[in-house]
């Protein structure tokens, strides 16, 4: 067993403890104060039934409203190679990946709120607002996942279709739909899963008990109702739902690959000009761009100067930065060992074990952060003051949340490196530090930089675990924005949101530029 493999198994052991210990906390429901055996008959509770139904319903609608239009938008992109600003628009569609949920929410409030450009009034809060925000995040993601399906259709098939004088309908029926059918269910389920575990959007835009999901109900049980028994029951329900969806996704294994980046994806396109396609791209571009533009305008014309002069805001910004960088460092390090071991095992033909090592890094898909946080809360609250351990807990859980991104971003480059140079390095006795400095770092620094930048931006924008464990004294910028929203300080929240967005983009750029360096690999 190599040093890298030993380190990877240590990472897996730590991950197992971090996941299993909180699960133990959840399963020790019986020892919680206030537990009654009839609590287990949760299906008799109207409240829990309603929360479960709403969780599934909003996730289903969000998935439909994101993916169905995304088919039209991806198709329009695939057929409009010379659409003006095509590359810029595709880049804009990568932006929601690093825009914190709470910032997007502020953008949506800024457009559709009572004082917004398209006012929806009170009806923004509830299912409408949740759907608007979920579509803002997931329509661009679905477009970037679906676009490669069109690009995967062989060039000769298009040429044959032209030769045989296929109409638009025939092209769709014989070329496009068969390609799309392969990847569509996977994309749909992925978006469904993301919306099922969405927390910040529902917390900020959900309208009371009628529009509460399991994630938000867990948070409310712990932080407002002080009812850990109900929180644990809800967490176990959420865990079961996520497990179910994850198993279906794994069984399908048809999820198309997409390069995770805010850069414009490499895309070949065909030119079947149709004004309707241009209109579709334009509308989607406006939908995604408008909240960000509106946020920018509202923030700059609001109390931005007052917010920037506030020392408390900068203290929060410092904490946000610390959590982001801490999570990024931890996540990239763990991902490095897991991927290194996985590549070495794959190189030796142990493919099953290699896959298992890699998959272990994506455990957070099955165990949502809030479920993990609830387990940690229940497990540790008897022994320590969990609120004073907020930073380590938030860094570790955010690092775990970032690990799947590290694996997706760094994995392909590491596997290629291993495949090309492992034998050569072995024969030249290049290992350990020498190998890292002379070979791996120069060849992989771009992917390492991108992974670290992504995890840092995601962790900085997180309003999940920090909401569970944070206090006014330990508030990060996202939590501060949530507190400002709760106090109806909308202009201040908008300005703080712009500051957070700027900080996330700056950190992303600095890390990608200075760690990632030039694209020399």
């Amino acid at each position: 067993m190599t040093q890298t493999e030993r380190s990877a198994y240590l990472v897996i052991a730590i991950l197992a403890v971090l996941v299993l210990a909180p699960m133990g906390g959840l399963l020790s429901l019986g020892r919680l104060p206030g537990f009654e055996p009839q609590d287990l008959q949760f299906w008799q509770s109207t409240y829990i039934r309603r929360v479960v139904f709403f969780s599934l319903w909003q996730a289903l609608l969000s998935a439909l409203f994101s993916v169905v239009p995304a088919i039209l938008v991806a198709r329009a992109f695939a057929f409009n190679g010379d659409f003006p600003f095509r590359s810029l628009l595709l880049r804009l569609f990568g932006l929601p990946l690093v825009v914190p949920s709470v910032v997007a929410v502020m953008g949506i409030v800024s457009v559709y709120g009572s004082d917004g450009w398209i006012p929806l009034g009170r009806s923004l809060y509830g299912l409408n607002g949740i759907l608007l925000a979920h579509v803002f995040f997931n329509l661009p993601l679905a477009v970037r996942l679906l676009l490669p399906l069109w690009q995967g259709i062989p060039r000769h098939h298009w040429e044959l279709a032209e030769q045989m004088d296929f109409s638009g309908w025939h092209r769709w029926r014989h070329l496009e739909w068969p390609a799309l059918r392969e990847g569509l269910p996977g994309v749909m389920l992925l978006v469904f899963m993301l919306c099922l575990t969405s927390f910040a959007v529902v917390l900020t835009l959900g309208g009371g008990p009628k529009s509460t999901t399991l994630e938000v109900a867990i948070y409310q049980s712990l932080r407002f109702d002080f009812d850990p028994v109900q929180a644990v029951i809800l967490a176990l329900l959420q865990l079961s739902l996520c497990l179910l969806v994850a198993v279906v996704i794994l069984k399908m294994q048809k999820l198309p690959e997409v390069e995770i980046s805010i850069a414009s994806p490499a895309s070949e396109s065909r030119n079947y000009r149709n004004p309707l396609n241009s209109l579709v791209i334009l509308v989607a571009g406006i939908y995604v761009g408008l909240p960000l533009a509106s946020l920018l305008i509202d923030a700059l014309s609001g109390p931005m100067a007052q917010v920037v002069a506030n020392q408390y805001i900068w203290q929060s910004a410092g904490k946000t930065l610390m959590l982001g960088l801490g999570a990024a460092g931890l996540s990239v390090m763990a991902g490095w060992f897991l991927l290194g071991a996985s590549s070495q095992l794959a190189n030796r033909g142990q493919l099953r074990r290699a896959r298992l090592v890699e998959i272990s890094g994506s455990i957070i898909y099955v165990v949502p952060p809030l479920v993990l946080g609830t387990g940690t809360f229940v497990l540790l609250s008897d022994y320590i003051d969990v609120f004073s351990w907020v930073y380590p807990i938030v860094i570790i859980i955010n690092a775990m949340m970032g690990l799947p991104f590290v694996i997706r971003t760094l994995g392909p480059a590491m596997r290629q490196n291993q495949m090309r140079y492992q034998n050569l390095c072995s024969s030249l006795a290049l290992s350990g530090w020498n190998r890292f400095i002379f070979i791996d770092w120069p060849l992989l620094r771009r992917s390492i930089g991108l992974s670290a930048a992504l995890v840092a931006a995601l962790a900085m924008g997180d309003l999940g675990v920090i909401a569970l464990f944070g206090t006014p004294n330990t508030a990060t910028l996202p939590l501060l924005i949530y507190q400002q929203l709760g106090a109806y300080l909308i202009p201040q929240a908008t300005a703080t949101a712009l500051l957070l967005l700027g900080l996330c983009l700056l950190v992303f750029w600095v890390i990608e530029r200075y760690i990632g360096g030039k694209a020399d690999a």
Partner: protein
């Protein structure tokens, strides 16, 4: 010099077919290995280099067993078809890594590298990156590294397959001279019978994980009665 006896290997999870090799290569000799794809030629090289571990059998170099040695400690150097060079490092550093992986070179080692580059007509290109060179020049750099590593066994795994006929012939002649001069034992895997004719006095034909013929090259390629060899040569 290189002695391989009853060297057995079975791919994990593969059908029960077990590969077994027996052969010897003298100092200063280039022995060619030809045969269909998947016949086991590269597997044999990987077993000698240590990338694969044999199930049983022995590999001796100058009478000393090497099959239990770690990869880097074996008196073996290998040139692959591609990815012999690190694309981000200049030519000089690529060669120097063969001398000392920590790149802390003495004056003598510096001189050794300079000499190797000069003998392969690569002087003046030290600061170039592999991407700026032709395929033939890149393989020359790999050969320069072979020179500075000073190992007794040289393995060439389709090392020149990506080159045009003229460049291939030129490099094979170079390798042959190098092997004779340095008294190395070399194994050349190739799909081109003509490579064997240029490089080797003796050639082995490998099929289904066994050496089924080991004869003087011209005899094997032009006069053999073996159906397998004739069928293979006819299919090219």
């Amino acid at each position: 010099m290189l002695e391989i006896g009853a060297l057995r290997y079975q791919f994990p999870g593969a059908d029960p077919e077990i590969m077994q090799f027996d052969l010897s290569v003298a100092a200063g000799e280039v022995l060619s290995l030809i045969g269909p794809s998947g016949s086991g030629k590269s597997t044999l090289l990987n077993l000698i280099a240590g990338f694969l571990k044999p199930d049983s059998g022995h590999i001796h170099v100058d009478g000393e067993a090497i099959e239990h040695l770690p990869i880097a400690q074996r008196p073996v150097t290998i040139v692959f078809q591609q990815h012999n060079l690190f694309p981000h490092l200049d030519l000089y550093t690529n060669v120097a890594l063969g001398v000392d992986p920590s790149l802390k070179l003495s004056t003598e080692q510096d001189q050794l590298i300079e000499d190797a580059l000069e003998s392969l007509a690569l002087s003046g290109l030290e600061k170039r990156k592999p991407g700026e060179l032709s395929g033939g020049q890149r393989q020359r750099i790999a050969l320069a590294r072979v020179l500075v590593r000073e190992r007794k066994v040289l393995l060439l795994d389709e090392a020149f397959a990506a080159l045009g006929p003229a460049q291939r012939e030129e490099l094979i002649v170079l390798v042959k001279a190098l092997v004779e001069r340095k008294k190395m034992a070399a194994l050349l895997v190739s799909h081109q019978p003509r490579d064997a004719l240029i490089a080797s006095d003796r050639t082995a034909f490998v099929q289904n994980g066994r050496i089924i013929a080991l004869q003087p090259t011209r005899q094997l390629l032009e006069e053999t009665d073996l159906v397998e060899v004739r069928s293979y040569l006819g299919s090219l």
